[in-house]
């Protein structure tokens, strides 16, 4: 089995990218700590044959969900959603686009972040979300559609 140190070095960057997209830059560090400490605790029980990348992304996804649930409990309802600052269009790593993704309904948000920020396949996204591959595709598709409508001029 790969020593944890090497596993960490191999996966920290993709996990970091995913978490910045999924919970935002301010909360990425906490979620990152929780993800890799949980991975360390479960590391020797990881089943052989499963992709290490998809395994750690699933943990990261669960930590992101915990974060969103906690944020929802703290949230105070407001009449209108605050305006999200739109950075220059066409930038491939547009922070504004990801802020909008975070505002999507949970399934769409999870499907888009796992597919495009964590770079999992639809099949791996489905496993992480515990749904069918078809449902994962549909959630991602609906999420993209919503974003397109929101960003339309």
């Amino acid at each position: 089995m790969v020593p944890f140190q090497r596993f960490f070095e191999q996966h920290r960057e993709p996990v970091w990218r995913y978490l910045v997209a999924a919970v935002g830059p301010l909360h990425a560090d906490d979620a990152f700590q929780e993800t890799f400490l949980a991975a360390l605790r479960a590391y020797d029980r990881r089943r052989a044959g499963t992709s290490a990348g998809a395994w750690v992304m699933t943990i990261a996804h669960n930590k992101a969900m915990d974060h969103h649930r906690a944020a929802a409990r703290r949230a105070v309802p407001v009449a209108e959603l605050p305006e999200v600052v739109q950075h220059d269009h066409g930038s491939a790593s547009d922070a504004g686009a990801w802020a909008r993704v975070r505002a999507l309904p949970p399934k769409q948000r999870a499907a888009l972040t796992l597919r495009y920020a964590a770079d999992l396949t639809h099949a791996e996204v489905a496993r992480a979300l515990g749904c069918s591959e078809e449902a994962a595709r549909r959630s991602a598709h609906e999420g993209l559609k919503t974003l397109r409508l929101e960003l339309a001029p």
Partner: protein, 197 residues
């Protein structure tokens, strides 16, 4: 189409998060390790909660990754780099190589070694600084006078050379014999201890 690529990582933020994670992980892992420099080449030191479990001459053991993978297989894959946790080992070795230390009082974890091998290593550890012994004498001291070949194998598999001074065991008749860090290293250590070769 909306471009949705993973956000480019902020290198400084990721580095800070990594450092924080490794510091926390060191106290939750089963094995911590560090790379040490020495006059006889790079050494990989690894410890468990019980003590020093491995001191490997890196280049005689297939490199750092090979050493770590062997530890992952034999001890636990929950291995984390934690140089601070091996400060005492680094200091003791520095003092030894500078000629300011003759004995090591470091806790050692020999769980990688089978019972007879452990008896051999314990017998070996009783050979004082500056003295030498033979494979046969160590086998006898470990309780099996006729097992000098097995004693030789156990010394060859010594997980913590220098600390358990297997370099002080020579062939009967005075030949240098082999060494886990190469014969040149064995000669260096014996010369450092003032042994006439």
């Amino acid at each position: 189409m909306i471009p949705l690529d993973a956000p480019a990582p902020d290198a400084a933020a990721l580095a800070a998060a990594s450092a924080r994670l490794l510091a926390a992980a060191a106290s939750e892992s089963d094995v911590v390790y560090a790379e040490l420099d020495s006059p006889v080449g790079p050494i990989v030191a690894a410890a468990t909660s019980k003590g020093l479990a491995r001191l490997a001459y890196r280049d005689f053991n297939g490199g750092l990754d090979a050493v770590l993978e062997a530890l992952a297989t034999k001890l636990s894959p929950r291995i984390v780099e934690a140089p601070a946790r091996l400060d005492a080992v680094r200091r003791a070795l520095d003092e030894y190589f500078a000629g300011r230390r003759r004995d090591f009082d470091l806790p050692v974890d020999l769980s990688l070694t089978a019972p007879f091998g452990r008896a051999v290593l314990e017998a070996c550890a009783r050979i004082p600084f500056g003295a030498t012994s033979s494979y046969r004498a160590v086998a006898a001291d470990a309780g099996r006078p006729s097992a000098s070949r097995a004693a030789g194998n156990a010394l060859g598999a010594n997980p913590v050379p220098i600390i358990v001074p297997c370099h002080r065991v020579l062939r009967t008749g005075g030949g240098l014999g082999g060494y886990t860090g190469g014969v040149a290293t064995k000669r260096h250590l014996l010369t450092l201890e003032g042994t006439q070769l």
